[in-house]
């Protein structure tokens, strides 16, 4: 099938999904969950073939781990679909409403986007997660995973499509982009008018290429060069705990801290302590002059302050004051999450006002910027752009709105 055929079918499916009741959509989600659980063996067999090919091609262990499914991960996908079924339906929510002077009734109502494209990398669980979130919000989804996960994704999509159809909703609500490699991604990125929104999920390179090449509107997600700034008025024990948590609790994710800034007034008291604690936790520091004077700290260059390491590395610098911290963050941040540790109300107020990131955190770890932690129940990604959605995106962020205007003959 050509891309246009698949996209056209998704459009027709989207028309049906847009007017499907919550009950119908939840029934489909539960059927998808049950079907995935029952077809675990089939999905794992397909995944084993993907893993075999990847191993033959000498794929790195970290990538193999992302690609790997097991009973537990398949069960987690099914549970994720059940969780989405339990969430409220965003479609139909009246966002704003009023009666105009001429008697017209104005309602701004949440409606689905229509057809959502997802471009993602090697994690096959994204296939089920994205399909479930899109369907609940009334959207058809066109999935374009990595070729290394092709057989896993095909197995999952085939199970999900059959389950959706068994409940009476259109199977084409969930579809894979036909073809492989760059061409299939390109078809999706150039499908303006056929696809309403494109969401890339993956590394910085993938996201940059989608943002630059796509004519379809894009929601940019997930690159996080997150900072922790330890203010002169910080409780230093608390600061130590927050820095350690933000850097080491799960270094491979976008809300992990990548850069530490310390106010000069507390540098003597804090820098040696935090370096020792981070080094003990296995972290390599890339520091400015003050930090690099300590044993084992590497000198930081421009590229270190700009880096999203996603590893047990952190850049570190001493700043003369809060305004210098703000300037440093404006220069290097990717606009994901920045934290300040301070007991000063004035410092907290200035930092949260001046730092323009999706999340600005006072006295807590950067690791909380997450749809689950924020209580959204499901998350399609974390937007780092300013248009449409910013920060963790749950179901409401997967919708648009329209105005419904009702009158009894009004003219101008």
């Amino acid at each position: 099938m050509t891309f246009e055929t698949v996209a056209g079918r998704a459009r027709e499916a989207a028309y049906e999904l847009a007017v499907a009741t919550r009950a119908a959509k939840d029934a489909a989600l539960l059927a998808m969950a049950d079907a995935l659980a029952s077809a675990s063996a089939q999905v794992l067999a397909a995944n084993a073939r993907d893993l075999g090919t990847a191993r033959e091609q000498g794929t790195a262990d970290a990538l193999l781990d992302r690609l790997r499914l097991d009973e537990g991960r398949v069960a987690a996908m099914a549970d994720g679909l059940r969780d989405v079924a339990a969430l409220p339906d965003p479609v139909g929510e009246v966002v704003r409403g009023s009666t105009l002077a001429n008697g017209l009734e104005l309602r701004q109502v949440r409606v689905p986007f229509g057809v959502v494209g997802i471009i993602y990398e090697a994690r096959p669980n994204v296939t089920a997660d994205a399909a479930g979130i899109c369907l609940k919000a009334g959207n058809a989804v066109l999935l374009r995973g990595s070729s290394s996960a092709r057989r896993s994704n095909e197995a999952i999509v085939s199970v999900l499509r059959r389950a959706v159809a068994s409940t009476g909703l259109p199977a084409d609500a969930v579809a894979m982009v036909p073809g492989e490699g760059r061409d299939s991604a390109k078809a999706l990125m150039r499908a303006r008018g056929l696809v309403d929104v494109l969401i890339p999920r993956g590394g910085a390179g993938l996201i940059r290429s989608v943002v630059e090449e796509s004519t379809v509107p894009v929601i940019e997600t997930g690159v996080g060069n997150c900072h922790v700034y330890v203010d002169r008025a910080a409780d230093l024990d608390r600061a130590l705990a927050i820095v350690l948590n933000a850097k080491t609790q799960r270094p491979s994710v976008c809300n992990a801290a990548e850069s530490l800034l310390v106010h000069a007034d507390v540098a003597d008291a804090f820098v040696p302590r935090v370096v020792a604690a981070l080094q003990e936790a296995g972290v390599t520091l890339h520091g400015d002059e003050t930090f690099a004077a300590l044993d084992g700290v590497l000198p930081a260059g421009e590229e270190d302050f700009a880096a999203e390491y996603l590893s047990l590395d952190i850049s570190a610098a001493v700043v003369p004051d809060l305004e210098a911290a703000v300037r440093h963050i404006r220069r290097y941040s990717s606009g994901h999450t920045e934290a300040i540790v301070t007991d000063s109300q004035a410092a907290a107020r200035r930092f949260t006002a001046a730092v323009d990131s999706a999340a600005v955190v006072v006295n807590a770890s950067t690791r909380f910027t997450d749809g689950g932690e924020f209580g959204f129940g499901a998350e399609i990604g974390i937007s780092t752009q300013k248009l449409h959605a910013r920060g963790p995106m749950g179901l409401p962020e997967m919708t648009s709105t329209k105005y419904v205007v009702t009158g009894d003959g009004q003219v101008r």
Copy 2:
């Protein structure tokens, strides 16, 4: 000055505007209004030079009229700025908030975009309108008008910048893109990272080229191939009044009707009446077989149903039922505004659910899709895209949000 210098200054100004109080912004808006009113002669002199050049180049009368300023139009710009000053400040509004299980306080707060680019055509009044709306929402604005209005725009911007500076806010809050022609537009469209959002205001050609070439996120505005569907259950007197109003009250604007669909069951009763009334109002009909059988109705081709005439022309067709009207609209509509005239609750419900446009109107004219009519007080344009904002965009649509998360040492 290079584009990068101007954009860099706008960014610095945006940092100041983002934390400016409402009082400071309103003072600047009122100063802008007063300065514009005082400088009316200077602005009109610049406009007269633009008009002279345009006339020498044989510019059409309709375009000359758009370009032309007079005392009344300058006063209207000043009044517009005062109206914006009177509107509530969208910045700082808490959109969502909760306390998480771990005690973290979560607030989703409206914040400015930062730097907004506006690309527009010959109307110099857009210069003041856009500057006022952007400033009130805390954004710096980079204006790129048409070269035919260059001297008018320069005069207006120079007055506005001085007024802003006189109140203590940065003059660079309002700036023109340096240079002329395609290059200056291109600089703006490629300024990803320097400019946060780009809004094209003008004809379909301008908007398409911005959407296709821009790497900066774009809000698409204003193309309206709006439909009026007269249902079998319509009150035909009401339908006639609505069709006439939607087509003729102001045919050159995006919310004017461009296409009429009539249910077959009322075609005999309605088609001759509506044709006679439209023709009497000076409208040329481009109709399907039923319509074209009447005197003076031209036969409609595919291109007529797709056309946004913006003139006293309308395409017209008879449809067998409501579903056929929905299919026709899905095929040809630009997603701006579609109206149904019906007394049937079932038909109204189905039409508003199935038609996916920025505004869906029941028993009223399409001409109501407008920020002023909707009570928004100010409008930067009408979005026909699904991302971020859809329909008339007022001040809240000119903002993004950020999450402010406050704790007392929480870690994961």
